[in-house]
């Protein structure tokens, strides 16, 4: 049985105490991903380029990949000693490792020790997070009235997105206060979000110390029915292990890719593919999240009435169908090459035509390379054009030199840059709100797959092995499948690059989340049932 005597006010404290700590853990985890570009520059050699970004994403991915191990370690602890103390431990580990990341000197100071230390700390973050979610969802669900389990647990589901929101907001505030240059220095403002975390963690620890143990677990413990070996009972017996596999392949795998594509991949796409200006790319995501977050609770509430299964699967279906059109629209509306052709609507922006020139003399000839940044305005959208046009001196020879031949005039041939970059796009207001709406749609898919998920997972497993059993598939689905969306998406796009198409197919990376979500949708449709388990204590 759940606890029918838990009043709404009591549930409010339980939700708050669980959510604050979970939110902080998500914040700790996400500031790393949000600052991936800066981190790659600080902790990797200067000339690494895409490789450095990928390596950083790999470290980011490492934090996700180790989450299932955290789920096993802390899930087991939670089923053995209780939810409350396991909670505290995960919070302390996460807070400590996050704070420490902010203290690691850059590559220029300590060389390869820098990325290695950051990787170790990232792994500790992943372990801690692996133990957090299963505990929070289990804790809240075991207090909630059975007919409102979806509603109350959906509040926990908002913490991941709100943690992302908090991470974005703090980063933007600090960056705007310090300025871009100062923010990106080795000991610049990008470290502040890591240090701020320690304050938030201390507050969360104080709150969690006041929490009582889950009544269900307390009862199971009082009756002497706790599990002796939660790992063996969860995964060593077919009856439960088959449910772990079903939870993963029929629900969480798809939920994970939808979650990360609609938020993380969307933000990365806006910044690195559409080349939106840093602050605006994040503002768009912030606004979309702000307007979509209440729907976590709405779909959690709805799942109490009509069941969890079809809401989650509908979210996956919408992602499969609409991801390519949505991302294609984002790409189409930021195609600066087309803007440059529309001369009547193009105007020069401020500080245009600044640049410097380099002279290159080699066997191939005498060249002057003009590095130029032009600022343009197209229908109230501002953007920069970075180009390196070359002037080649015609008839130049090393010997005898032209000066020896007494030539007074020189003829140059202009070689235009073929790899012009259009960056730092700041969209006009109307276009910006269109982008907010498109990203909002994708976050709505997230709320559909994620809102009912906690209640769904809790209802699949018995109390004495619940923490262990639900944590592992959750963190594999989110940590592995979902967490690798940015990494694999970027990698797939790289693979499409060739001599004929040096830019590659920017939408190719979507095939990974679309494929995984489609497979999960199919399995879930066939194998899951829609029945709500009223009594999770039986």
């Amino acid at each position: 049985m759940s606890n029918p005597n838990t009043s709404s006010k009591g549930m409010g404290f339980i939700i708050g105490a669980s959510s604050v700590g979970t939110l902080i853990e998500w914040y700790d985890f996400y500031i790393f991903g949000m600052l991936a570009t800066i981190i790659s520059k600080q902790f990797f050699p200067d000339d690494s380029g895409t490789s450095a970004l990928l390596s950083t994403l790999a470290i980011f991915a490492a934090g996700f990949i180790v989450r299932p191990f955290g789920a096993l370690v802390f899930g087991r602890l939670g089923d053995l000693i209780g939810r409350k103390y396991t909670f505290l431990l995960t919070l302390i580990l996460m807070g400590g490792s996050t704070f420490a990341i902010g203290l690691v000197p850059g590559f220029k100071t300590i060389g390869w020790a820098a990325p290695i230390i950051v990787l170790v700390l990232r792994l500790i973050q992943g372990l801690a997070l692996g133990g957090e979610y299963g505990g929070a969802a289990t804790y809240v669900a075991e207090h909630a009235p059975p007919d409102r389990r979806g509603f109350w647990t959906s509040w926990i589901q908002t913490t991941a997105t709100l943690g992302l929101f908090l991470a974005l907001g703090i980063i933007i505030l600090i960056r705007n206060a310090q300025g871009v240059e100062k923010f990106g220095k080795e000991w610049g403002g990008w470290r502040y979000p890591f240090w701020i975390s320690s304050i938030l963690v201390i507050v969360s620890i104080v709150i969690r110390m006041r929490m009582s143990e889950s009544p269900m677990f307390a009862q199971v413990k009082a009756e002497g029915k706790t599990s002796v070996n939660p790992l063996k009972e969860s995964f060593g017996h077919r009856a439960n292990f088959k449910m772990v596999l079903l939870a993963l392949f029929g629900a969480v795998m798809g939920q994970g890719v939808i979650w990360y594509t609609g938020q993380f991949y969307a933000q990365s796409f806006l910044e690195n593919t559409c080349k939106l200006e840093f602050t605006q790319s994040r503002n768009i995501l912030l606004l979309a999240i702000l307007f979509a977050t209440p729907f976590f609770v709405f779909f959690g509430w709805l799942s109490d009435i009509i069941g969890r299964k079809w809401i989650m699967l509908l979210g996956m279906l919408l992602g499969v169908v609409f991801y390519r059109p949505i991302f294609g629209e984002l790409l189409k509306d930021t195609n600066a090459k087309e803007w440059m052709k529309d001369k009547p609507n193009l105007a020069e922006g401020a500080l245009s035509n600044n640049g410097k020139a380099d002279t290159i003399i080699n066997k191939a000839g005498f060249f002057i390379v003009h590095h130029q940044t032009n600022n343009w305005i197209y229908k109230d959208t501002r953007f920069s054009e970075k180009r390196n046009d070359t002037l080649k001196l015609m008839g130049y020879t090393l010997y005898p030199p032209l000066s020896a031949l007494g030539k007074d005039t020189f003829n140059f041939a202009k070689i235009p840059d073929t790899k012009v970059l259009y960056t730092d796009k700041v969209l006009a207001a109307a276009l910006k709100w269109k982008f907010v709406w498109l990203v909002w749609c994708m976050v709505i898919f997230v709320t559909m797959v994620y809102g009912p998920m906690a209640a769904f997972l809790v209802e699949m497993f018995p109390t004495k092995i619940r923490y262990t059993s639900m944590s592992l598939p959750y963190h594999i689905g989110n940590g592995v499948f979902g967490g690798l969306v940015p990494f694999l998406g970027t990698l797939i796009v790289e693979f499409t690059k060739n001599k004929e198409n040096p830019a590659g197919d920017p939408l190719a990376g979507l095939w990974y989340p679309i494929g995984v979500a489609a497979l999960c949708l199919f399995i879930g449709t066939i194998y899951l049932r829609n029945k709500i388990d009223k009594d999770v204590m039986d």
């Binding site: 990928l54 490492a62 392949f249 018995p462 109390t463 594999i476």
Partner: protein
Amino acid sequence: MNGFKRYLGIIWILLSPAIVVFLFWQAADKIGKASAATRSNVTLQWSIILIIFLPICIGLLIFGYYAFKGYYDHLPESSEEITDY
């Protein structure tokens, strides 16, 4: 529907090694095409992918086996069905 679930189990059983083969093929292809400067990084990335997805593919194989044997014909209604061993 239960019959359909069981026959699909064969698909999952076959899909698992197909994914493994695909991943190894892609790894060999991409590492082979990598330049000397990036080969170590590419090898590391693909090693991570293989290490992660191999156990998951084994899980998919087991899922397919369970489906084929009919273990998903009936999902448990209470904890006794899961913990009665």
